[in-house]
Symmetry: D2
Subunit: 394 residues, 4 copies
Amino acid sequence: MTAGRHFLQIPGPSNVPDRILRAMDMPTMDHRGPAFSEVGRKALEGMKTIFKTEGRVVIYPSSGTGAWEAALVNTLSPGDTVLMYETGHFATLWKKLAEKLGLNPVFIEGDWRSGADADAIEARLRADTGHAIKAVCVVHNETSTGSVTDIAATRRAIDAAGHPALLMVDTISSLASVEYRHDDWGVDVTVSGSQKGLMLPPGLSFNAISAKAMKASETAGLIRSYWSWADMTGPNDTGYFPYTPATNLIYGLNAALDMLHEEGLDNVFARHRRHAAAARAAVEAWGLEILCNAPADRSPVLTAVMMPEGHSADAFRAITLRHYDMSLGNGLSKLADRVFRIGHLGDFNDLMLVGTLAGVEMGLRDAGVPYRAGGVQAAMDVLGQTLDTHRDAA
Amino acid sequence: MTAGRHFLQIPGPSNVPDRILRAMDMPTMDHRGPAFSEVGRKALEGMKTIFKTEGRVVIYPSSGTGAWEAALVNTLSPGDTVLMYETGHFATLWKKLAEKLGLNPVFIEGDWRSGADADAIEARLRADTGHAIKAVCVVHNETSTGSVTDIAATRRAIDAAGHPALLMVDTISSLASVEYRHDDWGVDVTVSGSQKGLMLPPGLSFNAISAKAMKASETAGLIRSYWSWADMTGPNDTGYFPYTPATNLIYGLNAALDMLHEEGLDNVFARHRRHAAAARAAVEAWGLEILCNAPADRSPVLTAVMMPEGHSADAFRAITLRHYDMSLGNGLSKLADRVFRIGHLGDFNDLMLVGTLAGVEMGLRDAGVPYRAGGVQAAMDVLGQTLDTHRDAA
Amino acid sequence: MTAGRHFLQIPGPSNVPDRILRAMDMPTMDHRGPAFSEVGRKALEGMKTIFKTEGRVVIYPSSGTGAWEAALVNTLSPGDTVLMYETGHFATLWKKLAEKLGLNPVFIEGDWRSGADADAIEARLRADTGHAIKAVCVVHNETSTGSVTDIAATRRAIDAAGHPALLMVDTISSLASVEYRHDDWGVDVTVSGSQKGLMLPPGLSFNAISAKAMKASETAGLIRSYWSWADMTGPNDTGYFPYTPATNLIYGLNAALDMLHEEGLDNVFARHRRHAAAARAAVEAWGLEILCNAPADRSPVLTAVMMPEGHSADAFRAITLRHYDMSLGNGLSKLADRVFRIGHLGDFNDLMLVGTLAGVEMGLRDAGVPYRAGGVQAAMDVLGQTLDTHRDAA
Amino acid sequence: MTAGRHFLQIPGPSNVPDRILRAMDMPTMDHRGPAFSEVGRKALEGMKTIFKTEGRVVIYPSSGTGAWEAALVNTLSPGDTVLMYETGHFATLWKKLAEKLGLNPVFIEGDWRSGADADAIEARLRADTGHAIKAVCVVHNETSTGSVTDIAATRRAIDAAGHPALLMVDTISSLASVEYRHDDWGVDVTVSGSQKGLMLPPGLSFNAISAKAMKASETAGLIRSYWSWADMTGPNDTGYFPYTPATNLIYGLNAALDMLHEEGLDNVFARHRRHAAAARAAVEAWGLEILCNAPADRSPVLTAVMMPEGHSADAFRAITLRHYDMSLGNGLSKLADRVFRIGHLGDFNDLMLVGTLAGVEMGLRDAGVPYRAGGVQAAMDVLGQTLDTHRDAA
């Protein structure tokens, strides 16, 4: 029996605001009735403003994993080669998914400590003179490591190589937290999910689709039904769906869209960058190592921290949960027990961040992990130096 | 601007009880943390008591359409022949889905006015001496027509034919409203969804899986990833999922399981039968025709009513919505505008039913449809004659 | 264990709409902080639009009983004579309250079957040549009997008698359901509560105060503290309260104000009149007697029905509760067990009304009460003849 | 537009847990129907376990101010002398209330920096040889100053003086946060409210009543109606109330009772003591002065901090609100602008406390208040040294 509010500081699902939970806590409506049209349209049109696209967005009742699958099965044919980049565990899962679908992923190996290297991508594409590669797939924010890939640079790499491959980007843990521009950056398919920057519970996923990707879907040979874009477009045009949508999650999505625009997306992004800077200052003050060793690639939404040799990250996380009622993210696959991840995303503010970092600092102490005190203080210093001036103005 | 509570009397999504909405209206939790194990296990084990199976149940974050796809892709190989039965629109959609997946559905044609004919199934199977047919797929409660297929009889037909085909049953609109016995009736894959008898919003779907079906999945050649049973089993054994589950819907599911067992499944089934009898009495009193012309097949969860020649069912439904704030189900595909459907399922009681039927009767009057008054009265008579004696006892 | 939605058809508390419950289901805020000012002001100003007054309205965290007390203690002195009218149980309770406060109530006796007789009031006031009577207190809608008093006529009676007494009116069960005009009708203190036409849970009560009543409060000798208007006015002017307000109920009140104005008060009143007409048609069709025997005084918010001799109203109500999960109002004090009351107020619509009347009709049958079938049908006929044309227009 | 959760760190209303808000977010029920009996009884009986009394508890739909009034009007007669103790603003308000009611309060002056001095009370009572003093009234936890009065010592003082006065105690901001024993400590009337340790929104208040107080009420001469204990007892015996209770707040109260007992009252008290110790360590580290200068009297529920000379506490609080979305308590009456108060009560945990203290520390910096950094660190040290071992055991 614990008192007070649980600190859900995994890198997603993020804390769902009351306003969104209450919006979902309303009677399910007739998804074929006239009133639903407005609800559906608001969601579909609203998501375009988040992806920053004039193109089509589709919404699935599924977890983000489904949207990964959707991106591939709508655009590719059995045996197609796709260039993927090993930024971490989720990039690896996406690659395994491609294999299950009968695709031929070429995987640029990485050390899980930075975003994707655009030069390496460019080099592979230049080498692919026959244009066997049909798509380049990268993860914008690698949730397992806390590293961000520069998507605009990735686009430039493809263009520099003069390669016609589609560009597909996973923004499951970055959308609505980190700046993203589907159209400006020339992305063909953006994949996302509801439970991170969109501040919803899990259960919705998204594809934003370029005209080029939509065209590719007309001839793509992979089998698809549930994920079929073609089946979505007709009903979506009037705010409806080809099969029963997750009505109450869509209520929540519409509330989330309102909240994001009320705060202003640029303010949302700035807030995440500021909290990440404060979190990193804490980690450095503790004398611990941040997993992402490319400073420019460090994530605004989470910070993955390496555990000192000989100490168990999972034992430490168990202590923060038991002593401080806080959930931290675990290390995944090859990072298991060696890394813990601090989520600082979604509906989050300065005092929640300090509380979170205090839970980490006190947990390090309780777990007997060698660290220097002062991380929380360091974070408070950063927060003070970067105080939102727009609030003062408001 | 309307006052009072909307009457959502489509045949699903059904009215979600406050208790379930409130259960969902709680903070999303860490789906990889220790506390989730109990939540996940309760849902997975609980669903076995609803399907009445000792076998495995998997839960997808998806609409019911996804669970249709899951049943097929886990058990079958490209080009496989499946015997399907045209009970109505949803059976037809399932067949189209099979085609999209590259299967070869053999469709026993029906007139959309009854459940599947077990004799016809038996005959086809007997004729299939080479056992080309790999699965028999039927819809338990055809939501588009209000007819029920006798699943035990279907099983007997397969056995009588000595045929090894898998039996797959869609219970999307019947589960937890109409008696169902996955194990006793020898079903191999049962497909279901959250938004009907389970009284949840849409967004979860289910497969109940026999040992035979699970074995078939080991060699089935269709491509699958999101829907893969094999990926589910490991994590499910400890209450977890291979990808992020729809956490808050699962909270709701656990509340639904409690509610169903508190009422008692047999009482739930009896309640649905009783309300259906009253609804049919109303339709007959109005002098209208029930679409399902096989009395034994008439559905406990909805009653589809044929519109008198020359009258538009959709115009009538628009009037019941505008005048009485009630949503009724429309006629689908070839029944469009010719049929309206009255849902009487889920979290429902006598007075809600009378209100519903009053909305129909007053709507018929307002829409100028020829009818005899007295349907509501007839329903009240049936309700009186069949009053739940268990309530008196309680 | 019951299924479906309970029919709460007592004459208040009425059914609370989801939108109001959800508005209340938000974090309590600092009632002294800057953001509360807007919340408090909206409630205080908004209530003026409901009472139709330019004067001051005060809001108490209390049940309606408290607002009765507040009206008296703020304006009167020990031993003051007040003229009260015995319209029923609640008028009698108010009179008893006056006695407890040390006032001297003169009670015009009534038979509990009609509203107050303005002529009788005028006669008493004319006879009071010394103006010993300091206040005239009437109940607008007598919840125990379902009769309405004509407040404009009461005002005219006072004026015709040339009497300076204050006019105090209890609108606990009429406000926001039955037309009411505090200023136009020259009322000095209007008393009300949250749980009827305002569609809130119980816990808030109100006084609307004329300038004359406010002036009287400056010299009134009764002891008061919690109920003191004088303590309210300063803080209220900026949206605050002298002691902690019932914050979350005020959130709900603000949602209720929005809902009432979105529907339009005149539409709300018309809706209640229409439903009352249908309810009365049902009672007459059953061959039962309406308690209020002055047709012009019959209430738009409830209908009290006399039980045939030899039958217990409470036994009947117990059956409607057990068989149909519907709560009806009981007979109070001298009407105990002889009357049942049907509430048709607040957030209510046609199909809820028919469901309610069906519960009564089936309950009469189940309880063995002599009645003629056809009440529900009669109500449906009235509803059809009086269908809201504004809905068609909308 | 702010992101994340508001920190409501005034000393009440406290943060309302989701479980309680959701419990309140359920349909209002018939407060005269059979099912309510259980609801009412649970609340009435449950509150006895919180007050630790075998005697009667009454529940009012009102703010705590009403329960102050109730304590006095039920037990005293016009002109009665009551001995009250000036511990701070709220003690002073209670004294003013006594004056308004026509009582004769004798006020032992205090400097608002400690709890009541039992010796001073004893001296006054000894001097009152004629037993003119009918009641001794003290505030257990003075919310305006953060000081606690020793109630057992107060009882001993009365007994030592051999004085028959009633002992009345205000526990509005201490109940369910600080140990309290109505029966063991010989209290005659305990006053409390819902919005502090009980974790509810404001709107309910309480009197716990000794047999001696109940007996006094039989002859007490002050006028009363709404607050009358005598009217409560009959209905309360079967779980009902003499007038409409605040139904939905009572739902919340019942959830609060469950939560408090699940955690265990002793654990709740220990948690508050521990958080207070950490908060005080922070204040001392900042070099600021705690208002309560009697260390033994410092409150477990709030810490009032004196602002350095020349600095505005209100300007500081405005900054913590604007920069960190945190509400702190203001200085009241003579402490206005000189003191700010940190609430650390109710549904609260370690990380919420650190977040709160971080908001104070960063606010001091932003407001240009002279302070030493390190308060948050000091609090973290205390939390670590006093870690709940019961959690480890659990």
